[in-house]
């Protein structure tokens, strides 16, 4: 057979490198470098191994939940009850402590409560077909409400000394256990989303749930698993945060769900579902952590930080749309 093709037909419009350079993740890498440089220039205390290590605690727990939340949002659902799951898991861990639970039991309870809460959300959404935003706004009040009923204005304290390792321990030099755990979780979720059959199903459901169903994907089961994973990650975060604080109050992790969703959206996950990546969300978590820490070093009031994050969020959502508009108009 002779080669008669006039020219090679490319299987993609731009080269792999161009696609990569123009990607959202590259933009985020640029932002990370920029934030890092500005911080290093602005504060003499920024480039210090221990200080940078302390700064990672600002985002690791939220970022763990963001990994699972990213998959959930890509699949077109959302879980706003994650912070409330932390509160409930932490409260029940504290309650178990009063009955003499040791560190292994405490961890099991934290993870177990997370899983159960996730299953409850998942059942309501997939079993009854309710919209997840409504269900999880409801369970947000429900889970935290139970924590308030159990604790009132009291606090559980006196966690075992070895339990403190999860939130305050270091694996090697300045590398904290929380950071290692987060990187491990990110790796698992990265592989799950980008290199497995399950990950392809998640994208398919997010793009067109009906189409996915008719293609033979068990949509309800995948969504249920995603709610389970989000609950489990909230349980993991509850163990870490409780260990780091060394105490439980029902107001623990208050309003974290918004910061988690912010991380996911900033990371390039479409809030409408169907697209996004784990490396993007990891970078977004890093950006939020560095910005918070940098502003803290400069003693900028917290409210300015909120304004900055808000503007960043609007900026990153608006930028691609504005960019497309401009290109579209110049083409006409």
């Amino acid at each position: 057979m002779s080669d008669t093709t006039a020219r090679a037909i490319p299987d993609r419009l731009e080269s792999r490198w161009t696609t990569w350079l123009k990607s959202w993740e590259m933009l985020l890498v640029g932002v990370v470098v920029f934030v890092f440089a500005v911080n290093a220039y602005a504060s003499p205390y920024f480039l210090n191994a221990w200080n940078l290590s302390d700064a990672t605690f600002n985002f690791t727990e939220k970022a763990m939940i963001a990994m699972a939340m990213a998959l959930l949002i890509i699949a077109g659902e959302i879980d706003l009850s994650v912070a409330a799951i932390i509160a409930l898991a932490s409260t029940l861990m504290g309650l178990a402590l009063q009955y003499g639970a040791g560190t292994p039991e405490l961890v099991m309870i934290g993870l177990g409560v997370g899983l159960l809460c996730g299953a409850f959300n998942g059942l309501l959404v997939t079993g009854l077909g309710l919209p997840s935003i409504v269900v999880t706004i409801g369970t947000m009040s429900l889970f935290r409400g139970i924590a308030y009923i159990i604790l009132g204005d009291k606090a559980f304290t006196g966690y075992p000394v070895d339990f403190a390792f999860f939130g305050q321990g270091y694996v090697w030099w300045v590398i904290s256990f929380e950071l290692v755990l987060f990187l491990f979780i990110a790796l698992i979720f990265g592989v799950l989303l980008h290199a497995t059959y399950f990950g392809r199903m998640v994208y398919a459901i997010g793009n067109n749930a009906t189409g996915a169903l008719f293609s033979g994907i068990r949509v309800a089961r995948v969504k249920f698993i995603l709610f389970l994973l989000t609950g489990l990650m909230s349980g993991v975060a509850a163990v870490c945060l409780t260990s780091r604080l060394g105490s439980t109050r029902p107001s623990i992790a208050f309003a974290w769900e918004l910061e988690v969703v912010t991380m996911v959206v900033l990371g390039g996950v479409s809030i409408l579902g169907g697209s996004g990546s784990i490396p993007g969300v990891v970078l977004a978590a890093l950006i939020m952590g560095l910005v918070t820490f940098g502003f803290g070093l400069a003693n900028v009031p917290g409210i300015v930080m909120s304004i900055f994050i808000g503007m960043l969020l609007i900026g990153v959502i608006a930028a691609p749309i504005v960019w497309r508009r401009l290109r579209g108009e110049s083409a006409n």
């Binding site: 003499p44 780091r244 604080l245 060394g246 109050r249 107001s251 208050f254 820490f293 917290g302 909120s306």
Partner: protein
């Protein structure tokens, strides 16, 4: 070889110098960490801290805090203060226990840590400065009532919060202890308004009707004192029955002007910020040591004597009346 060694030493020294630019100025850096920014009470405390810094000289005040009153937010702020190598942290805590691990870390790195206003558990701070003490509050309430009684004394009633409110019950006990020193004060009743505006109002109405010779109402609660003053005004007895106790200047200004309340008390936030700064300075510069029985000077306020828990009371509550209410009513 020797040249190389010299070069290395020079390089190491230049690195060391660039890493420690703060060496140039030896200002004592004192961080005033508040529950949340944008609260009048704490802004006033900052004024006091600045006053103390000016008086001491060579002191830099860092006034900071989270946007919401959360422990997690305060931990982020404290982490960035540790990174900046501040000399002292004076914190009004959002959570008695959750801040302990972070503050312990601060103390390990040689930072002086005290709490003021809202305390931290003993293992997380060197000392705690209470705005006042129960005995001083109880005595002040009776004293204010006695000052404005007619010749020969008169009937006085107490309007408290709930019958189970620990603070209020201790203060009422302290009031009764000092009664022998104020022979004109004849306590006729103690009623409970549960810190609800409408119930407190009705209880106050009941007092006015049941005791025609009533000359004063003591309400050691900011809700009760406003309700009682309103009830007295509505009954047309302003100037005849004096409402006193613990209240907020912003809420009581109108009643002081109408004459329903001749005077009331609460701690002065300016003095509190001033004293906390003075103590932090004295401890950080090792002019004083925080240990049971120690007396730590607080500039113009005097000195604070520490009890077995390393806690001390600043002063008796500050009295607000027609002469100074205008200066404070916009603050808190």
């Amino acid at each position: 070889m020797r040249l190389f060694g010299k070069l290395m030493a020079a390089a190491a020294m230049s690195v060391a110098f660039t890493l420690n630019p703060a060496q140039a100025q030896d200002d004592v850096k004192i961080a005033l960490v508040v529950k949340a920014l944008g609260i009048g009470f704490f802004e006033a405390a900052n004024e006091g801290a600045k006053e103390a810094a000016e008086e001491l000289g060579g002191v830099e005040i860092i006034y900071t805090g989270p946007t919401d009153t959360t422990a997690e937010g305060q931990i982020e702020v404290i982490n960035s203060l540790i990174a900046q190598n501040v000399d002292a942290i004076a914190v009004s805590a959002n959570d008695r226990d959750a801040l302990v691990p972070t503050l312990k870390k601060a103390m390990q790195r040689g930072i002086t840590v005290i709490s003021w206003d809202s305390g931290v558990a003993p293992e997380g701070r060197q000392m705690h400065l209470n705005p006042s003490s129960n005995a001083l509050i109880g005595e002040m309430c009776v004293k204010m009532a006695a000052e404005h009684l007619p010749e020969g004394g008169g009937d006085v009633a107490i309007l408290s919060a709930s019958a189970t409110a620990t603070n209020q019950n201790i203060w009422i006990e302290e009031m009764k202890k000092v009664l022998p020193n104020y022979p004109g004060v004849n306590i006729v009743a103690t009623v409970y308004g549960d810190d609800l505006a409408d119930k407190s109002y009705r209880e106050a109405q009941g007092l006015i009707q049941s005791y025609p010779d009533l000359k004063a109402i003591i309400a050691p609660t900011s809700v009760g004192i406003v309700a009682a003053a309103q009830a007295v005004t509505d009954a047309g007895k302003a100037g005849e029955i004096n409402v006193t106790g613990l209240g907020l200047p912003s809420e009581m200004a109108g009643h002081v002007k109408s004459g329903a309340s001749k005077s009331f008390a609460i701690w002065n936030p300016i003095d509190l910020g001033y004293s906390a700064t003075m103590i932090a300075y004295n401890l950080a510069t090792e002019k004083a040591t925080a240990e049971p029985g120690a007396e730590i000077p607080m500039g113009r306020i005097g000195s604070v004597k520490l009890d077995d828990n390393n806690e001390g009371a600043m002063a008796e509550p500050f009295v607000y009346d027609a002469s100074n209410i205008d200066d404070f009513k916009d603050i808190f």
